[in-house]
Point group: C2
Amino acid sequence: MDAQVLDQTFAALADPTRRAILARLASEKRGVGVMELAAPFAMSLPAVSKHLKVLERANLISRGREAQWRPCTLEPRLLKEAANWIERYRELWEERFDQLDSVLEQLQNPQDN
Amino acid sequence: MDAQVLDQTFAALADPTRRAILARLASEKRGVGVMELAAPFAMSLPAVSKHLKVLERANLISRGREAQWRPCTLEPRLLKEAANWIERYRELWEERFDQLDSVLEQLQNPQDN
DNA sequence: ATATTATTTCACCATATGGCTAATTAACTG
DNA sequence: CAGTTAATTAGCCATATGGTGAAATAATAT
């Protein structure tokens, strides 16, 4: 509901690296270290570190301490908030598909008009 | 599915002015002009014009021409794409609520353990 | 032709973002 | 203690973002 929260959430999601990191974390129960998260990307470790900081400040991930590792864990709570916000538009995009359906129907059965 | 599309969509949603504009357009069947869209905001017309350009380039709105007005219309198609992306995490946040539920249950019925 | 209304473009400014390398901190290991 | 591994911080750069006021464009109205 809070505008700032949605700002941070959507801004955090507006980057392919960060979305990939979230996807990776979604498929792991355990916390995942930075090296491991960074491996698939053609970018430096500090760059990934920055992305993680963005995700952390947006409260989309949390980080622990385990020896010299900082394992990251997905925090899906605010994803739910973002989903809730978008869901308010669901009836609009479904309505639009209904309209498209009737257009297609007319194209196939022009005698209907 | 396209990463760039999600980039643009989420980036466009990461601003309260733009989300408010979308909300306004969602509640109107007719196209809405720029002056009218700008009215609620404490910012200049060029600023609103810029926001509209962001929304247009993200294909979240389309714009027509009607005399000297450029009526804006909501295009919900890519909102659906964004919703689809987030939905893949639904089971995660619901699982988390399940865990919270069982925690609350334990707090209320400690004899269960 | 001139004026009015709606909207955009231009030129500017401050701040944020995403990337880099090099240096630093933190924790473990020999 | 010295060395190794993990990660962050610092300093830098290029580009993007969100705002401004002033000027330009587009269409209508007088």
